[in-house]
């Protein structure tokens, strides 16, 4: 039995790297600094150790050969999930390049809200250490932050800050979804201000808030149940703050054309910066390798995921390359599902030939043609994963000897045998 300290987590997206984990053979126990997101994902037991073809246990070589045979004559295979580490994504993109596949990250529908805004007008963003040391006002838009990342407040807000006299004086303001708990209440008991509205009303509310930041007159007295005087006060607070931060989870903005709300918010951040103070955006993400997938796909192809290689070169389309649509329309002719982090994130139902390269313990309503259980990056092998702020790649540690292959090993083997 050993204990490993300073363990980084690839699961929560906020780059916690202070976990202490006790290792007993192949079973893990989070001893310190766990949370409701990380602890179960670290502690999940290994069940499958052997690959299966049509439900029967086979060697890795046979499983790889079968996967390669299934992909050999396909015209448009799709590779979904894309939840793995940097080396896993490198292997995935090499396989996609060779097989002419479509690559689609499972969290892309949310991430698309950010990419469309970024690619249309850009943004001014910040990273977690700047939040910790500078942020004097945090505006949370449409997101239950503590459910997203349970340790966010403890690690980045209610803690010592280099440039604030008293970090417990930071203001926290929610717009839209109210918080599910009290993590946003300061150590001195100051509660967050909450301006609640339906998520679907955020486009209107953000538009009015931005107009107020730009000192445009607003004739209405309320918007989506929020008094315009309250929004005016919020706009004044943003301009009065020295380093305000506006945060949101793109996936939580679950309404049509949410990219326009991300854009409104990001343009408002720019507007605040034009009023002789600083303000930054902070998109929340980084779960199950989503940032990793888009970063590696970015430098390998120039584009985020939702990129296809079917014409021999990468083509990005955030709508047409939706793997679920391609499966439902019958355009795709095989599915490769890659998910090394979360055994509960199973592939979409399909009758097409299906290859799953997944975390041990995945259970299927319909057994895939090939299932290859792989190790989890940061548990079974070393690797790299990106944090939500995209700048920081964390070095994942190997915690145990499970004998499970890495995603990269499996995908490289399939690619080599094609």
């Amino acid at each position: 039995m050993t204990e490993i300290t300073e363990v980084p987590s690839p699961f929560c997206g906020i780059g916690t790297d202070d976990l202490t984990i006790r290792i007993d053979g192949v079973s893990l126990k989070v001893i310190e600094n766990g949370c409701s997101v990380n602890t179960p994902l670290f502690e999940q037991a290994i069940t499958d150790t052997s690959p299966r073809v049509e439900g029967k246990e086979v060697s890795l070589e046979i499983a790889v050969a079968k996967a390669s045979a299934l992909l050999k004559d396909t015209k448009l295979p799709v590779i979904g999930g894309c939840a793995t580490d940097v080396n896993g994504m490198r292997g995935l993109l090499a396989l996609a390049d060779r097989s002419g596949a479509v690559v689609d990250n499972m969290n892309f529908v949310g991430a698309r809200n950010n990419f469309l805004a970024l690619q249309d007008s850009g943004w001014m963003n910040t990273t977690l250490a700047e939040v910790k040391n500078r942020c004097d006002l945090l505006l949370v838009v449409g997101t239950d932050l503590e459910a997203f990342a349970p340790r966010f407040f403890q690690r980045y807000l209610w803690t010592e800050a280099m440039f604030l006299e008293d970090s417990s004086q930071r203001q926290v303001i929610y717009l839209g979804t109210p918080p599910s708990g009290n993590a946003s209440t300061s150590p001195k008991g100051n509660k967050a201000q909450i301006f609640e509205c339906a998520t679907s009303a955020l486009p209107e509310v953000m538009a009015v808030l931005r107009a107020l930041v730009k000192k445009q007159p607003i004739r209405s007295e309320t918007v989506a149940g929020i008094a315009v005087t309250d929004l005016q006060h919020l706009a004044d607070q943003l301009i009065a703050a020295k380093y305000s931060v506006v945060t949101w989870a793109a996936g939580a903005l679950a309404f049509n054309q949410a990219e326009l709300t991300v854009q409104m918010l990001s343009e408002m951040v720019k507007d605040v910066n034009n009023q002789n103070t600083r303000c930054s955006g902070l998109p929340l993400a980084g779960k199950e390798g989503d940032q990793t997938a888009n970063q590696v796909c970015g430098w390998t192809t120039g584009y985020p995921t939702r990129t296809r290689f079917s014409r021999g070169y990468p083509e990005y389309d955030p709508f047409l390359n939706d793997s679920r649509v391609l499966l439902e329309n019958g355009e795709a002719d095989a599915l490769v599902w890659v998910q090394a982090f979360n055994a509960n994130a199973v592939p979409p139902m399909t009758n097409l030939p299906t290859i799953v390269v997944g975390r041990s313990g995945m259970t299927f309503a319909k057994e895939p043609d090939v299932f290859i259980p792989v190790g989890t990056p940061g548990i079974d092998h070393a690797g790299h994963a990106y944090r939500m702020d995209n700048v920081v790649a964390i070095r994942l540690k190997k915690l145990r000897d499970s004998g499970l292959p890495s995603t990269a090993e499996v995908l490289n083997a399939i690619e080599q045998s094609l």
Binding site: D17, D97, L118, A129, R278, S280, P314, E315, V392
Partner: protein
């Protein structure tokens, strides 16, 4: 295998050879002395061909977060230049900010065998090395960025001594796997986080009370004391600001004779004369460089067309965002460490400012006397994509072509430049100095950048052609570590280059204060922050080459 390159005309400034016919032998990846038993397994007849060592780009943004933001920002640019997979090469995209694989192929296809990322943020070093790890063929390396990190500024405010700063700098170089040190808008990136929108050389950071001049002095001293070959790599204050020529002259003056490299100096050579209050300061800057032998520069030439600017200088990038074309841009404040700004630019020959920027860069090239102290860059992709180097070489080597181009730019810009009166044409030997021997010497690369025995066999063979653009865009052969990788300007085989680093010693107790600082203020444990060698080597493709420090036994 013994390879013989027979009868080529050699330009090897590192050994003082300028255009002599000579045979070269390669074995086990290196150039060797003519063997007694000279039976080559493979012979290439290079009679009439021009032979140089592989070119080295000493300042090119090929790895790191801001480059990937630039890629993500511009899908429309990639769509104009899709690159299909071949039997040998991976697919990707080209133009302004190419994908990593295409970066490697296109550099090699122009005869380049190494590129150095000048802005390796300590906190983003992993990403830079991972991206560079996906660049085939080329050797690579990076200069780690300091000067706006709160740790250094706190040290300066606390009046820590130079030795303590040297230890921190050496520790950072090791933890980021770098070969040099860069400073970008010294202290300015930090000042922007405190809402300062400009920072002159002697202006104080509003929180720390530290000036850019002090930062430059302690970092240049650290680099010299530690024994790093590459002088402090400086992206100065006031990038792009009319009148910044004076800042640059003051910066040269203020460094007090310490070795200093001023990067993309074109962007820092502007006067305020003329109807548009924008003029060329190239003559004054060139004069100062000719006079101060401690100074080296690269130009950061702009060339007309669409590109994207990606810089650590978020203060200046934010100020310049109104020029974004297309109109979208990104800035980031990063981890109490640094920042970045990404702004797409379209340089137009009929825009007065852009046209004069073009002329200022060329004036600088032509007015600086010593080719060992000036380097050919476009600050890829900021002034233009690296793929425009052959065109730039022609502008330098061919006066009549240069004057033809000059005649097409904005007429007011033509009046504001002395370019037409400059007769200088670069020689092949001078090009070889700027892009090979000089770059290897500046960075401190052992056994690279030369063609004498003992060097690694990075070799480029061109067909002599009075049209220098055609000559330099399509080498006949490129060898990387003795392997033939390019024939007739096309990749015929790929391999993986090494990562060049230095490993300066430091007092291990430096980690005591760092540990406390990381635990109090940063979001990562010190142990998880430091990169280990295996992060570069574990995939079986990457390798690390450690170069000697100055004064150390070679």
């Amino acid at each position: 295998m013994l390879i013989k390159l027979t009868g080529g005309t050699i330009y090897d400034p590192a050994s003082g050879i300028a255009g002599q016919q000579q045979d070269i032998y390669l074995q086990n990846g290196r150039i060797i002395n003519p063997p007694a038993e000279a039976k080559a397994d493979k012979e290439y007849d290079l009679k009439g061909k021009v032979v140089m060592s592989g070119a080295i780009d000493m300042h090119t943004h090929i790895g790191g977060g801001k480059g990937n933001i630039a890629r993500t920002l511009l899908p429309e640019d990639h769509r104009t230049d899709p690159v299909a997979r071949t039997a040998i090469c991976r697919s990707g995209c080209g133009h302004a900010m190419p994908s990593t694989f295409v970066t490697g192929y296109r550099y090699a296809e122009m005869g380049y065998t190494a590129g150095f990322e000048p802005a390796l943020l300590p906190i983003n070093a992993r990403q830079a090395h991972m991206e560079m790890g996906d660049i085939p063929i080329l050797d690579k390396g990076g200069y780690v960025m300091l000067g706006s990190d709160d740790y250094l500024l706190r040290m300066l405010t606390a009046k820590k001594d130079q030795k303590a700063i040297n230890d921190y700098v050496a520790w950072t170089i090791q933890s980021a796997k770098a070969i040099g040190v860069k400073v970008v808008n010294p202290g300015g990136i930090n000042a922007f986080k405190f809402n300062q929108r400009k920072l002159d050389l002697d202006e104080q950071n509003s929180h720390y009370g530290v000036t850019p001049r002090e930062i430059l002095q302690v970092l240049a001293t650290a680099v010299k004391d530690i024994g790093i070959s590459h002088p402090l790599h400086v992206h100065g204050c006031n990038l792009g600001v009319p009148g910044n020529m004076q800042t640059t002259l003051d910066t040269i003056q203020g460094i007090g004779g310490l070795p200093m490299h001023l990067t993309h100096i074109q962007f820092h050579s502007y006067g305020t004369e003329g109807d548009f209050k924008f003029s060329s300061g190239a003559a004054q800057i060139a004069e100062a460089i000719n006079k101060n032998k401690n100074i080296t520069i690269d130009v950061g030439q702009i060339l007309f067309g669409q590109t994207v600017t990606a810089s650590g200088d978020n203060m200046r990038q934010h100020a310049n965002h109104k020029h974004a074309s297309p109109n979208k841009w990104v800035t980031m404040d990063i981890e109490c460490d640094a920042g970045c700004g990404v702004v797409p630019f379209k340089y137009k020959d009929q825009n007065f400012v852009n046209a004069l920027q073009w002329a200022i860069g060329l004036e600088t090239f032509l007015l600086v006397d010593d080719p060992w102290r000036i380097f050919l860059t476009t600050d890829h992709p900021n002034g233009a994509p690296f793929t425009s180097y052959p065109h730039l070489i022609r502008l330098l080597m061919d006066k009549s072509f240069r004057n033809d181009m000059l005649a097409t730019i904005h007429p007011e810009a033509q009046k504001m430049t002395t370019l037409a009166s400059i007769d200088r044409e670069y020689s092949l030997q001078e090009i070889a100095i700027m892009t090979r021997a000089g770059a290897a010497k500046l960075i401190g690369l052992k056994d690279r950048g030369g063609l004498s025995a003992g060097n690694w066999a990075d070799i480029t063979v061109y067909t002599d052609n009075p049209n220098r653009e055609q000559m330099f865009e399509k080498p006949d052969y490129v060898f990387k570590d003795g392997e033939l990788v390019v024939v007739d300007g096309k990749v015929v085989a790929t391999k993986w280059g090494t990562t060049h680093t230095v490993k300066p010693d430091f007092d291990p107790t430096v980690e005591k204060d760092l540990q406390a600082y990381f635990d109090r203020y940063l979001t990562m444990k010190l142990g998880n922050f430091k990169m280990s060698d295996d992060e570069i080597t574990e995939d079986g493709r990457g390798s690390i080459t450690v170069h000697p420090l100055k004064g150390a036994a070679a």
